[in-house]
C-alpha cells in the first residue's frame, strides 16, 4: 500500500515535467504579441525595445530553462525566505509578469482569496446539495421528487453560466435591486454590516456556480446509489428491520461513496483554477480572470505559471483520490 503510493508519487514528477514543456511549447507556437495591445502611436522600434526589456529577444529554449529554474529554485526559496526569514533567494530574478512587471506569485496570492471565497464556497454548497439530492432522488426513484431532481440537474447542465448569471442579475440586481451587480474585491469584513454587504455581493456568483457543480455531481451520486440499492446486502439490511435512514446512509451511501468521492476529488482543483466566465461577469477578479486577461494581452509568464500550478493541483488531486479510495473502500483489498 505504502510502496504503491510512493511509486505513484514518483510517477507524477516526469508527468509534470512533460506537462510544463507542453504548456511552454503550445504558448510559444500560439499567435499573439504582448506588444499588440499598445496604442498605434507607439512606433515599431520602441515596441522592439520594450520586447527586449521583457527578455523576448532570447530564444525559446533559453526562456524555458530560465522559467523552469525560477519555478523550481527561485520561487520556492523566496517562499522559504518569507516563512523562515532566511535569505536563500538573494535577489535572484523572480518570474515577472510582462504586463504588470510584478512577481507572478504575488499576483496569484492577491487573487487566491477571491477565488477561494467564491468558487470554493460554491463548490462546497454545490457538492453538499448534490449528494443530498442524489441520495434523496435515488431513494424515491421514479417519483415526482426524483424527476424534479433530474430537472435541476438537466438545467444546470443545459444553462451556461453566462445565461443564468444574466438572468439572475436582471431579476435580483436590476429589477428588485436587492444585490449589487458588481463584486467589490477590496471589501473588508469588519463587523455585522460589512458581513451583510459581503453576503449580498457573494450570493449571485455562488448561486450561478453551485448550480453547475450540483448538476455535475448529483447524477453520479444518484447512479451510484441506485446501483448500491439493488444489491443483496441492502435486502439483507432491510430484512433485519433497519430503518430506511440507516439503510440509505450506513449501507448504500457508504458503498456508493467510491464513485462520488472520485468525482468530487477530481473536480476540486477547479476551485483553484477559478471560474473564467462567472468571474468575468461579476467582476470577481480571481485566478480565472487573471488567466483570461493574461491570455488576451499575451502575458506568457503568468499564463504558464498559472496553468502549471493548476496542472500540479490536478495531478495531486488524482493521487489523493486514489489514496483516499483505497482507504475508504469497504470491500476487501485484493491488490
Amino acid at each position: 500500500m505504502r510502496a504503491s503510493a510512493l511509486r505513484r508519487l514518483a510517477m507524477t514528477l516526469p508527468t509534470l515535467l512533460v506537462i510544463s514543456a507542453l504548456i511552454f511549447a503550445l504558448l510559444e507556437l500560439a499567435p499573439g504579441d504582448p506588444m499588440a495591445q499598445l496604442p498605434d502611436s507607439i512606433p515599431a522600434e520602441v515596441r522592439a525595445d520594450m520586447a527586449a526589456a521583457l527578455g523576448l529577444d532570447q530564444s525559446g529554449p533559453v526562456r524555458y530553462a530560465l522559467w523552469l529554474r525560477q519555478m523550481l529554485v527561485v520561487e520556492p526559496s523566496v517562499a522559504l525566505d518569507r516563512l523562515l526569514g532566511t535569505d536563500l533567494a538573494e535577489g535572484a530574478p523572480r518570474i515577472l509578469s510582462w504586463q504588470t512587471r510584478a512577481p507572478v506569485m504575488s499576483l496569484i496570492a492577491q487573487r487566491l482569496p477571491q477565488t477561494l471565497a467564491v468558487v470554493g464556497l460554491a463548490y462546497l454548497i454545490g457538492t453538499l446539495a448534490a449528494v443530498a439530492l442524489g441520495v434523496w432522488s435515488a431513494a424515491r426513484q421514479g417519483t415526482a421528487l426524483d424527476r424534479a431532481g433530474t430537472a435541476v440537474a438537466a438545467m444546470g447542465y443545459g444553462l451556461p453560466p453566462y445565461f443564468t448569471a444574466a438572468v439572475l442579475i436582471y431579476v435580483f440586481a436590476i429589477w428588485l435591486g436587492w444585490v449589487p451587480t458588481v463584486y467589490d474585491t477590496t471589501h473588508r469584513v469588519t463587523g455585522w454590516d460589512s458581513a451583510a454587504v459581503q453576503l449580498r455581493q457573494i450570493i449571485l456568483p455562488v448561486a450561478v456556480l453551485s448550480l453547475q457543480t450540483t448538476a455535475q455531481i448529483t447524477r453520479y451520486t444518484r447512479a451510484a446509489m441506485l446501483e448500491a440499492l439493488g444489491q443483496n446486502y441492502i435486502r439483507t439490511a432491510r430484512a433485519k428491520g433497519l430503518t430506511q435512514r440507516r439503510v440509505l446512509l450506513r449501507h448504500a451511501l457508504r458503498n456508493s461513496w467510491v464513485a462520488t468521492l472520485t468525482v468530487i476529488a477530481l473536480g476540486a482543483p477547479q476551485v483553484f483554477a477559478g471560474a473564467i466566465i462567472t468571474e468575468q461577469i461579476f467582476g470577481v477578479n480571481g485566478i480565472g480572470q487573471l488567466l483570461i486577461q493574461s491570455l488576451h494581452v499575451g502575458d506568457l509568464p503568468v499564463v504558464q505559471t498559472v496553468t502549471m500550478l493548476i496542472a500540479v493541483l490536478i495531478v495531486l488531486a488524482n493521487l489523493a483520490a486514489d489514496l483516499l479510495i483505497a482507504r475508504i473502500d469497504p470491500r476487501p483489498d485484493h491488490g
Binding site: 499598445l38 496604442p39 521583457l54 512587471r101 435591486g177 436587492w178 467589490d184 477590496t186 453576503l199 467582476g283
Partner: protein, 570 residues
Amino acid sequence: MFARLIAAAISLCMPVPLFAADGHAGRGSDGLLRLYYWQAPSTLNPYLSGGIKDVEAASLILEPLARLDPDGRMVPWLAREIPSQDNGGIADDMRSITWRLKPGLEWSDGSAVTSQDVKFTVTYCMAPGSGCAQQAKFRDVVAVDTPDPLTAVLRFAAPKPFPYGPFVGAQTPVLQAAQFADCLGPAAAACTEANFAPIGTGPFRAVAFRPGDAARFEANPAYRVPDAPAFATVLLKGGGSAITAGRAVLETGEFDYAWNLQLGPDVLNAMAAKGRGRVVTAFSTLVERMALNLRESAPRGSSTAGPSPIPHPAMADIAVRRALSMSLDRNLMVQIGYGEAGRVSCNIVPGPPAYASRANDGCAAQDIPGAREVLTKAGWTDDNGDGVRGRNGRELRFVFQTSTNAVRQDFQLLAKEWWRQIGVATELHSIDSSVFFSADAGNRDSLQQFNAHIQMYASASDGTDPEAYLSGWSCDNIPTARNGWQGRNVGGWCDPAYDALLDRLSATSAPEDRAALARTLNDMLVQNYVVVPLVDRGRVSAHANTLEGVRMNAWDSELWNIADWRRAPR
C-alpha cells in the same frame, strides 16, 4: 446579538444605500468616488506600459508640465505658463524649450518638486534597457539643463518647430527623482513598489494597488489647491466588461463613472434611458476611413510578391474615386455603427478645431445621381448591360477588404449596395484583425501590402500636432517589398507638391501658420480622394447624475480635472 442578526438579515433585503449625505465644501468632504475601468490598469507607471488604461489611472497621481483641455489646447499644469517664442520659452533656433515650474510645488511626501525631477524623468525614460513606452516623445532630447530649481531647459538635437512632445499630456508626467533613482534601465521592471505607488503631485495618492483588479486612492494632503479634491477616497474597480460597467453606472447606480463604453448604440441608449446617469463623449483624431489603392495590385496567389508600380486603370482616375465617395451616406453609417460615439467626418485631420478644414463640409450628403453623372462624363458607361460600368474593356469591379468586426462588415454591405446603384461591382473580404493589422512582411493580407482596391480601417494622429501623421502620405512613406512593407502611405499616392508643403510645415513654428498648412495638406488628400474619411470616432464614458464637474477629454486623460469633480448638492 439576536437583534443584530435580524437587523443584518433585514438589511440584506434592502437596496444598497446609494450615497452618503452631502457635507460642506472642502478637501475630502464628498466621501468616496467610485470609478469603473473594466479594462483594469496593470501598473501606475505610464512609462512602463503605454496602455491608455494605465496612463489614465496614473493621471490621478502623476502630472505633466502641461495638459491638453477638451478642445486640444495646452493648459499650464505644473508649469507657470506655456513656453512660446513670444515669451522667450522657445529659442529662436528652435533647438531648446524652457519650462518654468510653479513655485512652492510639493510631492505627496512633502518634499519640493524641482527641475532635477524633470531632468531625471528624461534620464529614466531614455536609459537603455528600460523598455520605456514613451521613448518616441523624448527621442530628440539630447540634454536637460537646470539653471535653477524651478527652470528646466530641454535641448534638442535638431530644430523642433513643435517642441511640445515631452511633458505635455498624460503620457509623459514628471516622476520623483528620489523614488525612482535606483530604477534606471533594466532595474525599472523590478521596482514593483514604486511602479504600483508612485509619489506624485496630483490630487490623489495611491493607498493600495492590485494590478488587473482594483486600486484605492486617497486625497493628497500636499495638493496645491487647498480645497481640492472634493472626494476623500477613490475606488477604481476593474474587471467585467463594457456592459458590466455601463450597467453599474447607468442602470443600478453602484458606480459614479464608467470608462470606455464601446457598446452598440442600441445597447447604450437603452441603458441611458433609465435616467440614472449621462453618457458623455469627446472627440480627438481617430477617423474611420477608406484607403483607395492607386496601384495595380499583384494578382492573388502570385508568387512574385512585390508592388507593381503600374497605376490602376480605374482607381487612378479621380472621377472614379470621387464617385465612390459621393455615393456614401455617412450619416446613416454613423447612426448604424456608432451612435453618439461617432460623427460624420469629411477631413482626415478632424481636430483640434483650429486644424480642422471647413473646405470639405458637403461630404455628408449622399449624391447617387451626381456620382452616376461623374462616371458617365468620365467615359465609364455600362455598354454590355450587365449593370457594371466600364471603359476601354476595363470594368469597375473592385475588391474591398477590412478587418473582421461587426460594424465594419455592416459598412461593407452598405457601401456595396450604394456602389451597385452607381454601376460598380464590389467583392467583400473580411480579414481577422490580428492578421490584417500585423506587421509581418510575409503576410499578404496585411494593411500595408493592400492586395485589394479599397480597404477600411481607423487611425489617429498622436496628440494635437498632425505633422507626423500627415507625413504618412509622403512619397517615401509608400510601403513596398524593398522597404519591408514599412510606411503608412498604403494607397501609394505620391505628389511632389504635397511633399514640398510637408517640408515647409517642418520648418514653421507659428501655431496659426502650422494650422493653415495642416488644413491645406488635409484638403489635398481629401479632395484628391486619396483617402475617403467616414466617421470621426470619439471616446464614450458615462457618469452618474450625482457627479458634477466631469469635462470629458479625448486629448488627455479623461480624469484630467478630477480635482474639480464633486457630488451634486441634493
